[in-house]
């Protein structure tokens, strides 16, 4: 069962990683021990490490604070526009950091709408909200990016928990609060832990957000590795930092494995038609209203602001005698299809979008094909020592420095038949490396919660393990499969770092194309970047809605 995922990881993760570490340490004078000790001895390392942990902890807590009530809303209630709202809250996951920074800027920049509004209302001289170069900016961006993980994973799992358990507790005399703590929370703990782990690792290894929104005073391990590698070419130090980052990630995932093994318990999962109710009572309506306002302000408002900016004229020069153009325009969208300077690497938006979608589909396929057997093995025999070893190792790609791994590909994959260094196939492979742990973490709690009696019953009736898997496990985790597929899809669509390093310039993906526009001065360039970002948002939501429409399986009554 482990053959495919293990082979994949070994070939495309462990082999490149060990190659680059080996080469990096060899460049130093004192070998790997010496370099590692040097880095550990330096006080700046601890400062950087401490800050990395600190901002990740804060970000994760804030994300949970926003995500858990939201998950409750999505899990327990039906209301019109729900799937659209869910799709929209997932879009931030896809947006390249540069675009997110631009979106925040339109709202919270010195001349953003919120600041302008506040200045007018309170007659202020100086814009009150300063987001650049601040910890608040980092935290806000992390919450913006990662809340969807909590909303989706916890929300979907929660929506299948049998309400009769809570009702039974209440019949036996428990009040709301007590029932919540003693019944609901233990049931949810596995998936909340899984979601928190993913959010934490993402925040821990965050790069673009720290670089752009945090500014020069904040450095995490990932930023430090980048600086040491690219700017200073100090490979031994970079490798030591990468090893430290890996060790931290490993420590976290081992802790998670221990915890989750203790809290998993089999459940009876019920379909959504059974567990969800309409917003009937006044209390629930108030709660829903409040949550909706919060979610929309936090997630939809920046995206809408960005989309709106892409159809308004940017402020023209005040030098010209012409009046400043105001009003709406589709010029930027039209310009996207024009290769004004006959550039060789110009790609019309349709081909960039088609390419991104193609890579995303490949990533979804590959990560599901690899993730499903891995998750199944983990769920089946959690006490198996081999599984206990593999579980934390699976998560490592998420916590590995992208710069280091990218260079590892160059060194390791350079001999035929694996000379993939210039191959386009490297892109879906790199995306799968990130998506595959996600898939496993989304599927494992659901698979673990299937009651073993079902498997046993099927086996006594003569079903082979394959048939059991197809007829019992797959339908019961159908929803989680879709959650996993959506994650893989969005991760691939929004991936920028690895793609930029590998892509053929004639065939840019959408994030690479956006980056090209936004790295040059000029109003048309900026406008086209915004326009392309809006298109990215649109295709993402369409893609997500499409995936969700696929009724892979609904939980059946039995």
């Amino acid at each position: 069962m482990w053959l495919a995922p293990l082979g994949f990881l070994a070939l495309f993760y462990f082999y490149p990683l060990s190659s680059i570490l080996q080469v990096s340490f060899a460049r130093g004078e004192s070998g790997w021990m010496g370099a590692l000790l040097d880095t550990l001895a330096s006080s700046s390392t601890y400062g950087v490490l401490g800050f990395t942990f600190w901002q990740a902890v804060l970000s994760t807590l804030l994300t949970l604070a926003v995500g858990l009530p939201g998950a409750y809303l999505f899990a327990r209630y039906r209301f019109p526009g729900k799937s659209l709202l869910q799709a929209l809250t997932t879009i931030p996951f896809v947006m390249p950091t540069l675009v997110v920074a631009a979106a925040f800027n339109t709202l919270l920049g010195p001349r953003g709408w919120i600041n302008l509004g506040l200045m007018q209302i309170f007659s202020l001289e100086v814009p009150p909200v300063v987001l650049t170069n601040s910890l608040a900016g980092i935290l806000l961006a992390h919450v913006f990016y990662n809340t969807t993980i909590v909303l989706r994973m916890v929300g979907d799992f929660w929506s299948h928990i049998d309400p009769r358990l809570v009702q039974a507790a209440q019949v036996l005399g428990g009040n709301r609060w007590r029932t919540f703590w003693q019944v609901t929370v233990p049931l949810l703990l596995p998936v909340v832990l899984a979601a928190s782990l993913l959010v934490f690792i993402f925040d821990f290894s965050s790069f673009g957000v720290i670089l752009l929104l945090g500014g020069p005073r904040f450095a995490t391990l990932e930023v430090e590795i980048y600086t040491q590698t690219v700017s200073l070419f100090n490979l031994p130090t970079a490798a030591s930092l990468a090893v430290i980052q890996l060790a931290c990630t490993l420590g976290l995932t081992v802790m998670y494995t221990r915890l989750s093994n203790r809290v998993s318990r089999p459940l009876s999962l019920r379909p959504k038609t059974y567990t969800q109710e309409r917003l009937a009572s006044r209390r629930s309506r108030l709660f829903a209203g409040g949550m909706l306002v919060l979610l929309m302000t936090l997630f939809i408002l920046p995206l809408v602001s960005l989309a709106f900016r892409s159809i308004t004229h940017l402020e023209s020069t005040r030098l010209d005698t012409q009046p400043i153009q105001r009003g709406l325009t589709l010029d930027f969208y039209r310009e996207l299809s024009v290769n004004r300077r006959q550039s060789m690497f110009y790609a019309p938006p349709t081909s960039a979008i088609g390419l991104s979608l193609g890579y995303a589909s490949a990533t979804v396929l590959l990560s599901l094909l690899l993730g499903l057997p891995a998750a199944w093995s983990l769920a089946r025999s959690a006490q198996n020592p081999f599984n206990r070893l593999m579980d934390p190792l699976l998560m490592l790609p998420l916590g590995t420095s992208a710069v280091t791994l990218g260079l590892g590909f160059i060194i390791a994959l350079d001999q035929p038949p694996l000379d993939l260094r210039n191959s386009w196939a490297l892109i879906p492979l790199a995306h799968t490396l990130v998506a595959f742990p996600f898939v496993v973490r989304s599927l494992a709690p659901a698979l673990r919660s299937i009651r073993p009696q079902l498997h046993q019953a099927a086996a006594t009736l003569g079903a082979s393990p394959g048939v059991v898997f197809r007829t019992i496990d797959l339908p019961l985790v159908g929803r989680s499969l879709l959650v996993a597929a959506v994650f893989a899809f969005t991760i691939s669509l929004g991936e920028f770092g690895a793609t930029a390093m590998i892509a053929r310039p004639e065939y840019p993906t959408v994030p690479v194309a956006i980056y090209r526009f936004i790295s040059q001065p000029g109003a048309m360039n900026y406008g086209q970047a915004l326009a392309l970002s809006t298109l990215l948002m649109l295709i993402t939501s369409l893609g997500i809605l499409l995936i969700e429409r696929l009724r892979v399986a609904e939980v059946g009554e039995f």
Binding site: I20, V23, L98, A102, N105, G109, P110, R111, T132, N133, G214, G215, P216, R217, T227, T229, V230, F233, N234, H313, L314, S316, T317, R318, L319, D320, T329, D331, R341, S343, M344, L355, G358, S361, A362, V364, L365, G406, L407, I410, I411, D414, Q415, R421, N422, W424, A500, A503, R504, P505, Y507, V512, S519, Q520, P521, G522, M524, N525, Y526, V552
Partner: protein, 357 residues
């Protein structure tokens, strides 16, 4: 349920196949003659751009198909070239700039090639006496300022680096972090050339006292903090080619650029970009032809409107927009590549200590 899964897989497979098709189809058109065209692999950083016609011309003339490999920013691309030097990724590497030149030469990734076209290139650009790295273009990192802002506030715009310390420019400057940004590093090197390796830290202390803002990235500076993007800082470290770019990429046709660059002596730092033949290439003859092509007037005249840098070939003519709206500093600040290689880490560390702590 099964049908749906199958159909999804089919669609995905189709998309994948379409993508594969597109990826293997040659992008530029080339007319194959009697023999099959050979392939030349050119590794570049991700800011490389050229016109389709110009590249097509090279391909037709030489019966070759050029494959471009975009490898990240300048530093990352160089690292990739260095780490793969025993099994080079490409035949030619373009994108080493003078701040990385010593690193490239020390690692020995290039083969020497004395191109006949070097005769057309002024000596100031030929920083490698052994012609392992040949200059292709240059760009100047200069202070850019928002003309409208200074007119409105009725302040004279700054004219050199010393002016930035004056009280009327307090809180008006945004610069980039030299550790993470190429223009940031260039600006730091300009201050080192102006004030010496002993005096530049004092200058920076005074800049900090004058409320300079530091961001990590050119993007954050130009598109967030610069007043033209809605920010509060009307002076930003950018390129001498940014004012003409503002005109060329304006929404409505402009008669003058809304920004201007400070190009007085030693206010700008010159970045020169080089190309070289990677050691061990099997296509040495094609690589030489490519380098000759990059130094020829055809390519050199294409460079300004594509990459927004200036050609080194003295025969190349600049496009109209550049002659009208760009100013080329006559005497840019310069620091030798050997000095940069030797002191880069120390300078950045000292700067971080002074400015960010």
């Amino acid at each position: 349920m099964n049908k749906k899964i199958v159909s999804v897989f089919l669609i995905a497979a189709w998309l994948l196949a379409a993508c594969a098709q597109a990826a293997t189809t040659p992008a530029p058109t080339s007319q194959p003659t009697s023999s099959e065209p050979r392939t030349l692999r050119v590794m570049t950083h991700d800011s490389f751009l050229a016109s389709e016609e110009v590249i097509a011309q090279f391909e037709t003339e030489n019966n070759v198909k050029v494959q471009f490999l975009s490898s990240g920013d300048a530093g990352t691309a160089l690292n990739k070239a260095i780490l793969s030097k025993d099994n080079p990724l490409a035949d030619v590497f373009y994108g080493v700039d003078n701040t990385f030149l010593s690193r490239a030469l020390q690692e020995g990734i290039f083969e020497s090639y004395n191109s006949p076209l070097l005769a057309k290139i002024p000596a100031e650009f030929q920083l490698d006496p052994e012609q392992r790295a040949l200059p292709v273009d240059y760009g100047d990192v200069c202070l850019n300022y928002d003309i409208a802002y200074f007119e409105e506030k009725q302040i004279t715009p700054p004219e050199n680096l010393d002016d930035l310390l004056k009280p009327e420019y307090k809180g008006l400057l945004v610069v980039e972090n030299p550790a993470t940004s190429s223009p940031g590093l260039s600006f730091l090197l300009a201050t080192i050339d102006n004030y010496g390796a002993e005096g530049y830290l004092t200058y920076w202390q005074q800049l900090v006292a004058n409320d300079v803002q530091v961001v990590n990235d050119w993007n954050a500076a130009y598109y967030t903090e610069f007043t033209r993007a809605g920010g509060t800082r009307p002076i930003v470290v950018s390129y001498a080619s940014s004012p003409p770019a503002e005109v060329i990429f304006a929404e409505e046709p402009l008669t003058a650029s809304p920004t201007a660059a400070v190009t007085s002596p030693k206010s700008c730092f010159r970045q020169i970009e080089f190309v070289g033949i990677l050691k061990g290439t099997p296509n040495r003859d094609l690589a030489e032809k490519w380098i000759d092509f990059m130094l020829s007037t055809t390519f050199q005249e294409d460079v300004p409107l594509q990459m927004f840098v200036f050609p080194v070939n003295s025969d190349a003519k600049l496009p109209e927009e550049f002659t009208k709206f760009a100013s080329i500093p006559a005497q840019p600040a310069q620091v030798s590549p050997e000095d940069i290689a030797a002191n880069r880490e120390k300078w950045i560390a000292d700067w971080t200590e002074t400015v960010l702590k």
